[in-house]
Structure formats: C-alpha cells, structure tokens
C-alpha cells in the first residue's frame, strides 16, 4: 500500500467527472485557505482492519457550485443543507473507493460535514497524503489520514 496519491487522483477525477461532469486536475500549489475564509470539509471514517479517515476540504463557493450541479438548481436555490449533502456524497464516494484498497473487513462511516475557518480536526490521526486539485478558479484538497497507534 503506497501513499494513495495515484488512487486519490484517479478516484477524484473520475467521481467529479461522472457525477458533476467537471474536469478536475491535480495541482502542485497546495490548498491553504486564507484566514477568515469559510471552508466546507467533509469526512468519512474507516474502521476495521485499517483505521483512518478520508476528507475533502473546499471553499464554500465551490461547494455551492457543486451542489447546484448535483441537484440541478441555481446557486440561489441551493440551501445550506443541500450544500452539505453534496459534499457529504462526494466524500462518501471518495472514501468508498479508498476503502476498497484497504485490508478487509473495513467499514465506512456516514459522512460528517463541518463548516469551519480552521480546517478539520481529527485528534489521534496523522496525515498520510493530501492532494490539491483545481476546478474552475478554485482549489480543493482530498486527504487520507491514518489513526495513530495508541
């Protein structure tokens, strides 16, 4: 099992294309939200033979556009609940694909979505790999975290 970079790229590009018909590409510039920016972060936990989490951090404006495409609505029609549902669904699909690479049995949690200015916080976990992607003028990142051994 490597650092998941190839798989993160492959699954993210494929999911965003098939679900949203959006072309996203890995970029070397890391997504580092500026202070005060609202970020929407989705997370699914993986439990079992391998324990950790898969998360997607993206700017609120991009999450809103994603929801408007997913639910075929205008930006004005999209509610906060739908924005969270959309990011939760993308996170769930990405996590499900990553889980398929891991030793069985593993279980995928329901997604959790947080609106934050600080990024996701999962105590007791270490970052395995984070890949930043570009979509329109926005950046977002997909990360795999592994639970630290006690």
């Amino acid at each position: 099992m490597g650092d998941f970079e190839t798989e993160i790229c492959q699954y993210t590009e494929s999911i965003w294309k098939s679900i949203l018909d959006l072309d996203v590409h890995k970029t070397v510039d890391e997504y580092c939200p500026i202070g005060g920016e609202n970020i929407l972060a989705g997370c699914v936990h993986i439990s079992g033979e391998w324990e950790g989490a898969v998360s997607i951090d993206c700017p609120m404006d991009l999450a809103k556009k994603v929801a408007s495409i997913m639910f075929n609505m205008t930006d004005e029609e999209v509610t906060p609940d739908l924005i969270q549902d959309a990011l939760g669904e993308l996170t769930n699909m990405t996590g499900g694909n990553i889980k398929s690479l891991l030793p069985e049995p593993c279980f995928l949690s329901l997604p959790a979505v947080t609106m934050t200015q600080h990024g996701l916080r999962i105590p007791g976990s270490e970052l395995v790999k984070s890949v930043t992607f570009q979509c329109w003028g926005y950046k977002f990142k997909v990360s795999v975290l592994k639970k630290l051994k006690n």
Binding site: S109, L110, T114
Partner: protein, 149 residues
C-alpha cells in the same frame, strides 16, 4: 423517553465522574441552551447500527474540563489539549453507547469542530438530545441515526 436516554445519562455521568471527578446533573428538555458558539466533538458508529454521537460544550466548560484532565493552571489549556480532552470524553461516552447497539459496530476516531464551526451529519436524524449541567455550565449530547429515507 428518547432512544437510549437513560443509558446516555448514565454513561455521561460515569465518564465525567470517573475521568474528571465532576458531578453532572441532567437538565430538563425545556432548558434552552445558550446561543453562544459551541465546541463540538463527535464520534461515528458504523456497522449494524450507523450514526453519530455529538458533544456540544461552551468554551468556558471546555477550559474547565481540559484544565482538570491535564492538571493545568487556569487559562493555560492549549487548543491541542482542548481537542484531546473533548475527543477523549466523546470517545469514552461513545464507546459505552456503542456497546448497547446491535453488533458488530465500530467506533471512529473523534472529529472536532471549534467554536463558530458547525458539524452536520447528512442522511441522519437526531434521535436523542440530552442536556446536562457540569460545574454550573450547560452542555448537550446528541445521538444521530442514519435516516433510512
């Protein structure tokens, strides 16, 4: 009576009294939680039963609990220590609640959201919401279950 309400009250009391030597008491359903920004900690349960447990505490209580857990002087708790303290609390409560649910179930690592952040669990519904008082400050524990619809 809400789903597992008595058990949630029992285990929350147990964790607070054993881990932190703090007595807590349940608050009535009618109690209105303060509108102040809350510190949120959650763990998710996956398997035969799917859902999440979320602890919601005001920052003043987070400081008090963290200082007690790590034997710190007043005002000395770092953000990392606060995350660890609340993560440990919700992990212990979650572990006890998980044991009451259909097996097999797995408990996730804790996920934290700081004051002003929000935390949502799409495709779930809140099935239990218990309010407590600890050291003169209110806090709440909620149980979310996957919504089959």
């Amino acid at each position: 009576m809400q789903f597992l309400e008595k058990e949630i009250q029992k285990y929350t009391h147990l964790v607070c009294s054993i881990l932190l030597d703090f007595e807590i008491s349940p608050l009535p359903d009618s109690y209105e939680m303060p509108s102040a920004k809350m510190f949120l900690g959650s763990v998710q349960i996956t398997g035969e039963w799917n859902g999440a447990i979320m602890l919601s505490l005001p920052s003043t209580l987070v400081n008090t609990l963290t200082e007690k857990m790590f034997s710190l002087e007043s005002g000395k708790a770092s953000i990392e220590e606060k995350k660890d303290a609340i993560g440990e609390m919700v992990n212990m409560i979650g572990g006890n609640i998980k044991a009451l649910l259909p097996q097999p179930c797995a408990l996730s690592a804790p996920l934290m959201a700081l004051e002003g952040d929000t935390l949502h669990f799409p495709s779930t519904k809140m099935v239990t919401h218990c309010k407590f008082e600890c050291a003169g400050k209110p806090f709440a524990l909620s149980l979310y279950e996957q919504d089959p619809s």
